[in-house]
């Protein structure tokens, strides 16, 4: 009996080729899209879950609560780890200090190469306590954690050891130089951290080495300086209450911080399970965090897509069921009961869905290499695993039930006598209101995604073209070093650069005007000894900073050339926050940060965007201090960019032979601020495209069906004198109304979602009515292109032919 059903199902599919193609195409694209979304979400949710102590590991973090805002810092003060060990003996505690852009060099006598091999590591270089490995499980290929008790010891991961020494097995005992400051001995090799780890540690230097080089690596042992790179992890006994623990940490904070800091700073626990999704904190170790909102948006989009595909299915099958009424009638007369018919229809659905799933896997497999453009997944992520298989089975079963059950109930419910007399029509199936509702739902979803796309693309366009208040074009940044030898070479290097006619300006800086570095501090103003109640953010640079970046002064001028802080420049936001109205009034006032001496303000610069456009402009103090001005910012002429950059590289490598050259253009890094948003905009574009594709398939199927159903009506109308255009109008009118209804539904939802997305940005576009108007125009045009062909064809048909068949 089953075999018979499948035979009929197969013949039905072949006979109604057009519908089957539409069904399978729409469904497989939808399932493929969902599968890819599933792969991304599964990957993101798997972060750190492989750690056996996953549920009991916590990250100690700092909340800084100032008068006007709350900020979160992933780091804690250096003495915190020792104090924790004393005050919370039940906890395992480990600290680490992260380093960025460290240079590692393998001395020549280590290898066969002629000179030192130099590597720059942006991530994964840490000073780390051996206790870290009591908390986190790592696979040790050679050596053991205790080697990190000794100073100047380093543990490498397998791929880094292979990169440096050819084979990780040769690495043990070899010498490695870090930033030309530390000479380290390789004392252990660990296996690489998995892709889904927020701790992709590559070079682990003993923590004690950090303490022994306080100036070079900014080691400050006091309770004032919260260093975002200094992280502390804890493992607590399994049954610890976290709320109680946070209360205890509050009193711990009060006990150890001095008066003023105790009021504004609190230490609390961030569970490891939340770490990957907590975007309040910047990510200091891994390459990305993912907000739960992004994952929710993705799942929501996936759900919408699969619903749309299922809707197509229901629409087309109920429409087709009219044509099948005769078969159903005969079967009933021949003795089939209702459940047998239901099984038959479900069987057909199963074949189609099965075909769609197979096709979807092929599509997904083909699209997989492009997935890295819209998500932070590793290159080698796969879809042939148990999770994906279960997901596909789940999707298949829900689509079969969702889209097969309703048509099955309709079809099996036909009265045999009516069915045999061909008295079953689209109207008597009762499906028309339902089908209209479903088309409205589909169009509402497409319009939602179209509006999302327009808003996201406009916002990203706005962000990319926004006036940052300074000139970011053609500025080459070369990260450098501030050891005493490098510092001595600075001025000579600058003079040599300026001799190149293509170089317009050079400045040594701590960071560019817009950057994600936020070095904040308490400060005093106008000779008052009381700290101001907000944080000032610092940028350190020589006096050519303003010229190099084209910053404009609203009052005063740059400070004089100096190696230390004697004079300073502030921005307008700083001035406003200090309650000063006229920029001129700032000139000559004094300002003091940390324990330094008082400096005179020589100028106020017009506001520029200090971070990404997600955040408001920060109050800034700019001043010179040579030992922090590690980066060279070089403004160059745009013609012959390549030649100029090559000349600069040659000069740099000649000046600093002991360091690796890692220059980049400023506008590239600014673009990277918005990686997540740009990805999201791309996701919207892709999925809006898919949604439109699926709904157009559905629409095309429906209108084809309508054209067949109304052949007779059109014939009669034409005989009675209807024009072609009036008949096209007849077909288009209904869809236009449905699109309008769906528009009314989509607008508030889209408005709500996109307005909340835009709230991520302090600087954002307005949701103008035009966004919505263009969405409906796009929908109508696309729908009409789909409907139009069939409508015109139906209208042009010869009425004699269509009426003769009756």
């Amino acid at each position: 009996m089953i075999e018979n059903y499948f035979k009929i199902a197969w013949r039905n599919i072949i006979r109604r080729r057009g519908y089957s193609v539409i069904n399978i195409a729409g469904l497989s694209v939808g399932i493929a899209a969902c599968l890819l979304i599933f792969v991304v979400i599964k990957y993101e949710l798997s972060f750190d879950t492989f750690q056996p102590g996953y549920k009991n590991i916590y990250h100690l973090v700092t909340r800084i609560n100032q008068s006007d805002d709350v900020t979160y810092n992933p780091g804690v003060v250096a003495p915190a780890s020792e104090a924790l060990r004393l005050d919370f003996p039940q906890a395992k505690v480990a600290a680490l200090e992260a380093n960025y852009g460290s240079q590692l060099s393998v001395p020549a006598n280590n290898s066969n190469a002629g000179s030192d091999k130099k590597f720059t590591e942006n991530l994964g270089v840490v000073f780390i306590e051996p206790q870290f490995f009591d908390i986190f499980k790592w696979t040790w290929l050679d050596g053991q954690p205790s080697v990190l008790n000794e100073p100047d010891m380093v543990v490498l991961d397998k791929s880094t050891a292979t990169k440096y020494f050819g084979d990780w097995k040769n690495a043990m005992g070899k010498i490695l130089k870090m930033d030309n400051l530390l000479t380290l001995k390789v004392a252990g090799i660990v296996d690489d951290a998995p892709n889904n780890s927020d701790f992709p540690l590559k070079i682990m230097v003993s923590y004690i080495s950090w303490k022994e080089h306080p100036r070079d690596y900014n080691y400050v042992y006091n309770w004032h300086a919260t260093n975002s790179a200094h992280e502390v992890y804890l493992q607590l006994p399994a049954n610890t209450s976290i709320s109680k623990m946070d209360v205890q940490l509050k009193s711990f904070s009060v006990k150890h911080f001095d008066n003023q800091n105790a009021i504004i700073r609190t230490l609390f626990l961030q569970p490891l399970a939340a770490l990957h999704f907590d975007t309040r904190f910047s990510n200091t170790l891994g390459d990305h965090l993912t907000s739960m909102a992004t994952l929710r948006t993705l799942s929501f989009i996936g759900l919408l897509i699969i619903i749309m595909a299922a809707i197509n299915f229901i629409n087309l099958s109920t429409a087709q069921s009219v044509g099948r009424s005769k078969e159903v009638g005969i079967r009933k007369v021949l003795g089939s009961n209702r459940s047998q018919l239901i099984i038959q229809v479900i069987g057909e659905t199963t074949i189609i869905v099965g075909g769609a799933v197979i096709l979807a896997v092929i599509i997904a497999k083909a699209a997989l290499p492009y997935l890295i453009n819209i998500a932070n997944v590793p290159q080698d992520i796969g879809i042939f695993n148990l999770g994906c298989l279960l997901f596909l089975i789940g999707i298949a079963i829900s689509v079969i039930l969702l889209s097969g059950l309703y048509p099955a109930l309709i079809i099996s419910g036909f009265k045999p006598v009516l069915a045999l007399k061909n008295k079953i029509t689209a109207a008597s199936v009762g499906g028309i209101p339902l089908r209209r509702t479903l088309v409205v739902a589909q169009f509402a979803i497409s319009q939602l995604l179209i509006i999302g796309t327009i808003v996201a693309v406009n916002q990203m366009d706005y962000v990319n073209k926004a006036d940052l208040g300074f000139n970011k074009d053609a500025i080459l940044i070369i990260p450098g070093y501030t050891d005493s030898i490098s510092l001595q070479k600075m001025n000579g290097f600058k003079q040599q650069l300026l001799q190149n006619s293509q170089v317009k300006a050079v400045s040594f800086i701590s960071d560019p005007p817009s950057s994600e570095n936020g070095w904040g501090t308490n400060f005093n103003f106008n000779n008052s000894i009381k700290d101001r109640d907000f944080t000032a953010f610092l940028k350190l640079a020589d006096a050519d900073y303003f010229k190099t970046f084209g910053l404009k002064f609203v009052a005063g001028k740059s400070y004089d050339v100096s190696d230390t802080m004697r004079q300073a420049v502030v921005n307008e936001t700083m001035m406003h926050k200090l309650g000063v109205i006229h920029p001129q009034d700032m000139i000559g006032k004094t300002i003091r940060i940390g324990g330094l001496s008082w400096s005179t303000i020589t100028g106020v610069v017009a506001d520029f965007k200090t971070t990404s456009l997600r955040e408001a402009i920060r109050p800034i103090i700019i001043f010179p201090r040579k030992t922090y001005e590690a980066e060279a910012a070089i403004k160059i002429q745009t013609h012959d960019l390549k030649g100029t950059v090559a000349a600069i590289q040659k000069l740099w490598e000649g000046t600093y032979p002991e360091y690796a050259y890692n220059a980049y253009f400023l506008d590239d890094t600014i673009a990277k601020f918005y990686q997540q948003e740009n990805q999201l905009a791309l996701v919207y574009k892709i999925f809006a495209g898919i949604a439109i594709f699926i709904s157009c398939l559905g629409l095309y199927g429906l209108v084809s069906f309508m054209a067949v159903q109304r052949t007779k009506e059109v014939g009669i109308r034409k005989v009675l004198g209807a024009s072609v255009s009036s008949i096209v109008y007849l077909f288009s009118k209904e869809f236009a109304i449905l699109i309008l209804i769906s528009f009314v539904i989509a607008v508030p939802v889209a408005w709500y979602i996109m307005a909340s997305w835009l709230r991520n940005f302090v600087y954002r576009i307005h949701l103008s009515p035009w966004v919505f108007i263009s969405a409906i125009i796009i929908s109508i045009v696309i729908a009409w292109l789909t409907v139009g062909y069939k409508a015109i064809k139906a209208a042009l048909a010869n009425p004699v032919k269509s009426l003769r068949s009756e």
Binding site: N4, K7, R11, K326, I330, V333, L334, G335, L420
Partner: protein, 225 residues
């Protein structure tokens, strides 16, 4: 074999009742060959559908092989007609997607016959109707007469006691029609199948052993030969 007592079927239309069948009582014995005649709209097909349990009367009592059909549940009723009744239609009503062989086999599937048994029964039937050569063709590839032959073969495959035929020759030319009627007569005489047919044709009606004339839902006349 079957007995209808005071059967009526009507549609409520405002305060009026529109009668399709108006208080018909009728007994048919096993082995009879009954022709139902009457003008369009006189209720012939409805009466046949009620007898075949495809349609339900609004009022009245309906007995079939000693079962009170009007008291049966849907499932029992369908089990009953599956076992005893075969249908032949004016428009043949073959399933277009199935071959001749599969069309004939379908009722057996619904009556849970085993595969080997079905094969033998269908082969037997193909043989008897001399359509073995056509078993792999689809209905669209056959002439009207051949399609109706397949329709009758399908109606007879499960060895029904009662064959209901709704204008079986309506779509056929007179020669094909005659052949079908001869076949019916043979089935009735030799195999003892009770036959009830609806027909417009006097000539075809005379193949039967009784003619019932309907008018406006009532039996106008009934004569036995």
């Amino acid at each position: 074999m079957l007995s209808l007592q005071h059967i009526s079927k009507y549609y409520q239309n405002g305060g009026n009742k529109n009668f399709v069948i108006n208080d018909i009582s009728l007994d048919i014995d096993e082995g009879e060959f009954v022709s139902i005649m009457g003008p369009s709209g006189s209720g012939k097909s409805t009466l046949l559908n009620i007898i075949g349990m495809l349609d339900e009367p609004t009022d009245g009592y309906h007995y079939f092989v000693n079962e009170a059909v009007h008291q049966l549940k849907d499932k029992q009723r369908s089990a009953l007609y599956k076992k005893y009744i075969g249908f032949v239609f004016q428009a043949y009503h073959l399933i277009d997607e199935l071959t001749v062989y599969e069309n004939i086999e379908t009722p057996l599937i619904y009556q849970d016959f085993k595969g080997a048994e079905r094969k033998a029964m269908v082969a037997d039937m193909l043989d008897r109707f001399q359509i073995v050569g056509k078993k792999d063709l689809f209905p669209a590839q056959l002439s009207g007469g051949q399609q109706q032959l397949v329709g009758i073969a399908r109606a007879l495959i499960a060895k029904p006691k009662l064959l209901l035929a709704d204008e079986p020759t309506g779509n056929l030319n007179s020669k094909q029609g005659e052949e079908i009627m001869e076949l019916f007569r043979k089935l009735n005489k030799e195999d003892g199948v009770t036959i009830i047919q609806v027909t417009h044709s006097e000539k075809n009606a005379e193949y039967g052993s009784r003619i019932i004339n309907l008018l406006d839902g009532r039996i106008e006349s009934s004569k036995k030969f």
